[in-house]
Amino acid sequence: MSPTVREIIARLGKFTLIRAVLLFLAIIVAVYLTVIIANLGGQLDEIRKSQIRYEIGQRAFGNPAFRDMAPEAVAEMLNELAETEFHRLGMDRPFFPMRSFEYLWRALSLELGRAERLSSDAGSRQVRNILMERLPVTLALFGTSNLVLFFLALFAALFLSRRYGGFLDKLTIALAPSSAAPGWFYGLFLILIFGAVLRILPWGGLVDAPIPDTRLTYALSVLKHMVLPVVAIVLGALFAEIYSWRTFFLIYSSEDYVELARAKGLSSRGIDMRYVLRPVLPPILTSFLLVLITMWMGQIVLETVFHWPGLGSVFYEATQANDTPVILGVIVIYGYLLAATVFVLDFIYAIVDPRVRVGGGAVRQ
């Protein structure tokens, strides 16, 4: 009998579990690599030590005994205290392997201690709070723009696949190279036209200067601010995606089962939905995954250009302010976000492709 729903869920569960484990292993290796690169010149240790000295210094002020000592004596005492503290934390042990794993664990759990200069809007100096505060803002922009891109490209590609050789088709082929430029690049021009010259859309930022009071006006203002960034992101990849997906459709619509569907008398709309769109989804998802990966990278500059207070701009501020813990924190968070993107798309892939859902035969080595 055909596999019951329970079996399908069990198979999907097993499939996604294995994917999740493999992805998590990948994140560990990626972050470990980052930690190693970061500490090649011993920077990580410097930061850690300066943070410890700072804490010791804070504690020392509280203690009245120090207040009346001569300044050199105080400095010398603090140094001593710092040295014992370093020893206690085993800072003098060799970096490999033990301490590197310790850094790895701290990085993975995002406890990177205090930022050197930056602080979150809520005033906290903890790296994790700074990042967590900015995460939803980035996700909002990233999510909307890529959903718009996906559906716009999908239906444009489907529409074009039936007009092979038509004017619109040739136009797309001519425009496809426009996606060579990333989103932030179009952002600059959009700001130039709509912000500077026409002055009808805000330059950037999340919301109007005097924060609107009601929730509705606040949301509207945010939407208004999102228009340009979303258009920039979409323009950065739209035509290349339409071109490549329209090619997928063309190749798949010359498959034998589409010929048979046409022979069976299905209307072209019927064929598109069941015979072209569904079988083509898996390769489209794979190609969209690659787009998302490059999108994440483009996010940094785009947010900077649009002053969009997300992870990207905090990363830029961190580089300007030379704030290493925050830089490390953002890299780790991006690692998680990339892994999440890969996982989500893999999961959708498993649902869409029956071979995985129903379990194709084992692969012969």
Binding site: I18, A362, V363, R364, Q365
Partner: protein
């Protein structure tokens, strides 16, 4: 006809004595299984390509293996060529062992066995010229320059791709189906092998060209006294390949006999079914129904218990055929069959 080679039918001689009484290829209880992996590392069973096969081939003797797709015939060929490692049994070529050797130390076998494949266009690298295609095996076997030139022209003459210089600079897509297959044959004999393995050499050619290529292969076989193992699924063309024929089903050789015997008095139920199924071009066919077993060829991953044909066999003996694997019987001289009906 090929030289009828005297040999005793039952016992198998030790390898050493095989050498001088011209046994070219001896296969005893051969097994070649592939491990199946799911998601790259989970063991998911074995594909039993060849599962206990024995036969012998004399020098200069041709034999035909008839088997359908999924019967394991390709695995048998790959094992003889040393491309698939046998998991059990013995296989020796010119007295030297093949099983158990790693692919790298089978180099001596490479020049000894020529390989003619089914798809003529696919068997030729599309980006190489004819000259390059023929030169590659010679380069791999480290032959000097003039030896290469001499062998290339000699091989092309033999397969009548003449005038030679017209073809040398051509690419495979510029040749017709027949010419492509001739080039494949030329490449197979260029290393002066002592045996040719041909996997359905003519099945993808048009009827009119098919016979031409068959006759060419027969001429080459006799000229160089080559042992040949033909594989085909087309029983009606066996008579033009060789004297002896082996019928293969689900990774086993169910019947071994001469062409005349297989047509006049097939013993194994599967062979009988094959004969009933294959039409000759006669108008009466349109009216008649063929009485052949239904069902599908068995999977080689978990084949049926006992005799592998029992689920489709019209004469199945309950309790015997579906329980134990039938050994090889010889109900008539030089006519072997693996079926409990002849115990």
């Amino acid at each position: 006809m090929c030289t009828e080679m005297a040999r005793s039918s039952v016992g198998y001689m030790s390898e050493a004595r095989e050498m001088e009484n011209n046994i070219l290829l001896s296969v005893k209880g051969l097994q070649t299984w592939f491990e199946l992996k799911r998601w790259g590392f989970l063991h998911a069973g074995f594909v039993r390509g060849v599962d206990g096969i024995s036969f012998e081939l004399g020098k200069g003797e041709a034999v035909t293996v008839v088997g359908e797709s999924g019967s394991g015939k390709t695995t048998l060929l790959r094992t003889i060529l040393g491309l698939a490692r046998p998991t059990a049994g013995k296989i020796t070529f010119n007295g030297r062992r093949i099983e158990g050797q790693h692919a790298s130390d089978l180099a001596w076998l490479r020049s000894q066995v020529g390989f003619v494949q089914q798809d003529p266009y696919g068997a030729l690298a599309p980006f190489m010229t004819v000259d390059r295609i023929l030169r590659e095996p010679l380069i791999v076997h480290k032959m000097n320059e003039e030896e290469q030139e001499q062998r290339i022209t000699e091989a092309m003459d033999e397969v009548r791709l003449i005038p030679v210089k017209d073809f040398l600079s051509k690419y495979p897509h510029m040749l017709s189906g027949g010419q492509q297959q001739r080039l494949v044959i030329a490449r197979a004999i260029i290393l002066h092998p002592s045996m040719i393995v041909a996997d359905e050499p003519v099945s993808m050619l048009d009827a009119s060209v098919r016979v031409e290529i068959l006759e060419l292969m027969r001429k080459i076989q006799q000229a160089h006294n080559l042992g040949v193992v033909y594989v085909t699924h087309d029983l009606s063309s066996v008579r033009y390949f060789s004297e002896r024929v082996f019928i293969m089903y689900a990774a086993k050789m169910v019947e071994k006999t001469t062409v005349r015997e297989v047509v006049q008095s097939p013993l194994h139920p599967y062979t009988q079914a094959l004969l009933k199924a294959i039409p000759d071009p006669e108008p009466e066919n349109a009216g008649r129904f063929r009485d052949i077993p239904i069902g599908e060829p068995p999977s080689l991953i978990n084949p049926p218990e006992g005799c592998r044909f029992h689920p489709r066999c019209p004469h199945v003996i309950k309790g015997l055929c579906d329980a134990d694997m039938p050994p090889e019987f010889e109900p008539a001289p030089d006519h072997f069959v693996e079926c409990w009906l002849y115990q």
